[in-house]
Amino acid sequence: MADSTEILAGLAEIVEEVAGIDTAEVSADKSFVDDLDIDSLSMVEIAVQAEDKFGVKIPDDQLAELKTVGDAVSYIEKNQ
């Protein structure tokens, strides 16, 4: 089981891979859409990769609720 620091680091790697955003930019307070400028297609890619990496399920209705990087880290931590 990954702790929140490890999840944040892993998520940042995925965001870097999919959207080309420097891992240092991917912090808990950042909004995927407003701050990191990630579009809906890229969010689907990020969710699929996060599911594989952390062994969680992120249904579409949950994905829509994950506004910030911190939301995603908390969700993954609780559901892994």
Partner: protein, 412 residues
Amino acid sequence: MTDVVVTGYGATTPLGGDAQSTWDGLLAGKSGVGELRAEWTDRIDLPVSIAAQLAVEPTDVLPRVQARRMDRAEQVAVIAAREAWAHAGLAVEEGADPKVDPTRLAVIVGAGIGGVTTLLDQDDALEAGGLRKVTPLVVPMLMPNGPAALISLEINAQGGVHAPASACATGAEAMAWAWRLLKAGEVDVVVAGGTEACIAPITVAGFVQARTLSQRNDAPQAASRPFDAGRDGFVIGEGAGIVVLERREFAEARGATIHGTLAGIGMTSDAHHITAPDPNGGGQGRAMLAAVRTAGLQPSDVGHVNCHATSTVVGDVGEAAAIKKALGDHPVLTAPKGALGHLVGGAGAVEGIVALLSVRDGIIPATLNLENKDEKVELDVVAGEPRKMELTAAVNNSFGFGGHNASLLFTK
């Protein structure tokens, strides 16, 4: 009616990663053909193992994240469009005012085949790993209007995005449609051209089964030999060509460098056979004559024809006969596919740029590998060395499966 002028051009081809290196390669007599490089050649046995692949990998040019969101045909279109846009002096710093009203700017760029490599890769991913392995980008990557739409995003073109599809005539038809849009005064600037990157086992197999490809596998650089008696088919290639076309008044008002005039166009169809050209060349001739007529010129003004001639047994002879019948026996011919291979949807655009530069610079590249001209070709074809020649007008021909005939006429 307004004139339509060319103010910028860009290309990425088997001869080079930009228009200048492509032009230099053609004049130097280089070949873009080589042994086909692909991971599937080990497991799929085909009688063709040669191709004209890109000189510069698009993934070496584009930022990684942009590249992974695009099909290869989209990548090369965007690279060529960026070059053309900058060449036309229309690129501005981010945040600065655009030099063209976005609502008066259109894009017309098509492909002959389109995103087939994406379709194959993603189908493999689906079969192997299920839905989760399919990228959400698959549709925008394989749709035929994808290249044009991505270019519109790059340059903020809001005056319409169009994607003609007429097989190997696509690149030339895109410029012809742009000419009509500009002549009608609907927009001030059109970014137009064609793209292709469809070298995949199924496309190669399909062209083999249609009996169109050269099988001169032991001598790749000699395989594409338009008008030569020893020709045995074309060599499949990949690449893109894009031009910036403007209404002359608009270009002059902004002080643009004008490289030439797209003075006339012709687009006709054969309605004869789904792949074979009309043996009488009637549709080809009508396209050339329409280009001459819309330019307000006479056939005697056309000193040069940049031929479609792909190196197939039937096509090359038919085109030469159609040129002679429509324009007379005076035009001097060349066929860039000897060096470039056949860029399918990109061919007409890249070769249109070549015809433009021949008029501008007064020099016609030689037809590579033309050593022993087919005796049924009764016209003068440049072979060996480029020929210096002052040109009033040059015609570029592009024909496609489906019976499409497109002719572009360039003047200074």
